[in-house]
Amino acid sequence: MTAPIEATRLTRSFGAEIAVDDIDLEVGTGEIHAIVGLNGAGKTTLMRLLLGMLHPDSGIASILGYDTEDATSAVWGRVGHLIEVPFAYPELTVKENIVASALLHSVPTSSIGTAVDRVVEQFELGHWANRRARVLSLGNRQRLGLASALVHEPSVLILDEPANALDPAGVVFTRDLLRQYAREHAAVLVSSHHLDQLARVAHTITVMHRGRQVGMLDPAGVDLEQSFFEIVHRSDMAIREAQP
């Protein structure tokens, strides 16, 4: 059976720079898979390829068994994502932003009110519900982005550094939410540039460096930080030795 999120020998360059180099990755149903790597490791590019935001030079990105190049509306309707900047139009209120996201994710009109109220409550956005997004703090904008990504209860979730700008309570809350989604059989792919709380709840941790998959970390391991830097260092040394 095909995994809900799958990359097969995925490669993408920007000029001479290989941003994603021959990546193979699978995220199964009910699994949280974290990609960790330093800034510029290729995590965001990989996620963009998986979401059809970029076309691969070679290899296949597939979602729910469909190549992202020809995925249908029904497939995308089951995907939620937050890549870099939250879905937050500054001129719209918090509620209006979430309604807009619900509409674009094909939530039936009759269910939009309930769905919006649910995520407003889940993400504790009630106090700001009728305020314009432009007045929100960075952390609350991130909460709004997550609420917009989840309003349609997706079964595939791709989140790029979701803990960005969140306060400790927000991080813990988001961590629990990811666990809940995985329990409810969603496939979750998250990225992080450090081993934060979200990476630590993952079932699988892939380390990326300079566009390549350079190792895996055991989420149950004792000193993940140390293991991470060792993998990155080994990769750098290998590249240096390979250079003429």
Binding site: L51, M53, V85, Y89, E91, E96, L103
Partner: protein, 255 residues
């Protein structure tokens, strides 16, 4: 399409850019036309009065609305162009463009919905300008009143306003490809300058961006009549640019 339309109409209704553009063009533009007309018929001898008188295309309501026509032919392209550039360019400037990927509603549909909302706004704005021009003319006591002439001149004003406004739909493509509204704003300045040159060299009729301006001064000495093909170039260019923009949105990547 309905979902994308609902989202886009909400964004436009909440936008300060669209609100300011509507207020400025809807009220100031007819007021300026009335001001120029009043100066032109005042019998004054200053340079402004001479210039305003030279631009008079008729007397009474035809003269007054003719002044509004000439301002609308340029102002609507620039003013509506700012809104068009914002509607498309803001997705890049505000970095919301990636949020429009991986959705059941395609990006081509979203771009189409943006155009639909913009066209409806342009129709409403053109009608608003005509209504405000009528009200101001009545208040100012422009005479003589002839319902037939006034209706015909107001219809002409709506057509010229709408013609100038739909030409600014081309800025949707520029703002999309330029990934921000600044590219479109720069392009509009160049287009206005090139239009002036095209008119000076007598080839303005074949330069669609100059057509609304030529329509506004039709009948004046030395202004050649526009052919149906030249007139058709205006909606033709708008339609072609909309199609290209939708195609760009369908194929674009996040970079």
């Amino acid at each position: 399409m309905r979902a994308a339309y609902r989202v886009e109409i909400r964004k436009l209704l909440r936008s300060r850019v669209a609100f300011v553009a509507t207020a400025l063009m809807g009220v100031l533009l007819p007021a300026m036309g009335l001001g120029f007309y009043s100066v032109a018929v005042s019998g004054g001898t200053g340079s402004l009065a001479d210039k305003a008188a030279a631009l008079l295309t008729g007397e009474g309501w035809a003269g007054y609305l003719g002044q509004v026509d000439q301002i609308a032919a340029v102002a609507l392209f620039l003013g509506a162009g700012v809104v068009v550039a914002w509607v498309f360019g803001r997705e890049h400037t505000d970095r919301t463009f990636p949020s429009l990927f991986a959705l059941p509603v395609g990006r081509g549909t979203i771009a189409g919905a943006k155009f639909l909302v913009l066209i409806l706004w342009m129709v409403a704005l053109s009608v608003l300008i005509a209504v405000v021009a009528l009200i101001l003319g009545v208040i100012a006591g422009v005479a003589p009143w002839d319902a037939g002439v006034v209706l015909s001149e107001l219809s002409r004003l709506v057509v010229i306003s709408l013609g100038a406004a739909v030409l600014s739909l081309t800025m949707g493509l520029v703002a999309s490809m330029g990934r921000g509204y600044l590219a479109a704003i720069g392009t509009m300045s160049v287009i206005v300058a090139v239009s002036q040159i095209a008119v000076l060299f007598g080839t303005g009729g074949w330069f669609p961006f100059a057509v609304p301006g030529l329509m506004a001064v039709a009948g004046m000495e030395g202004i050649p009549a526009l052919t149906p093909i030249q007139l058709a170039l205006v909606p033709g260019l708008a339609a072609a640019s909309m199609w290209l923009t939708v195609e760009w949105w369908r194929r674009a990547e996040v970079v």
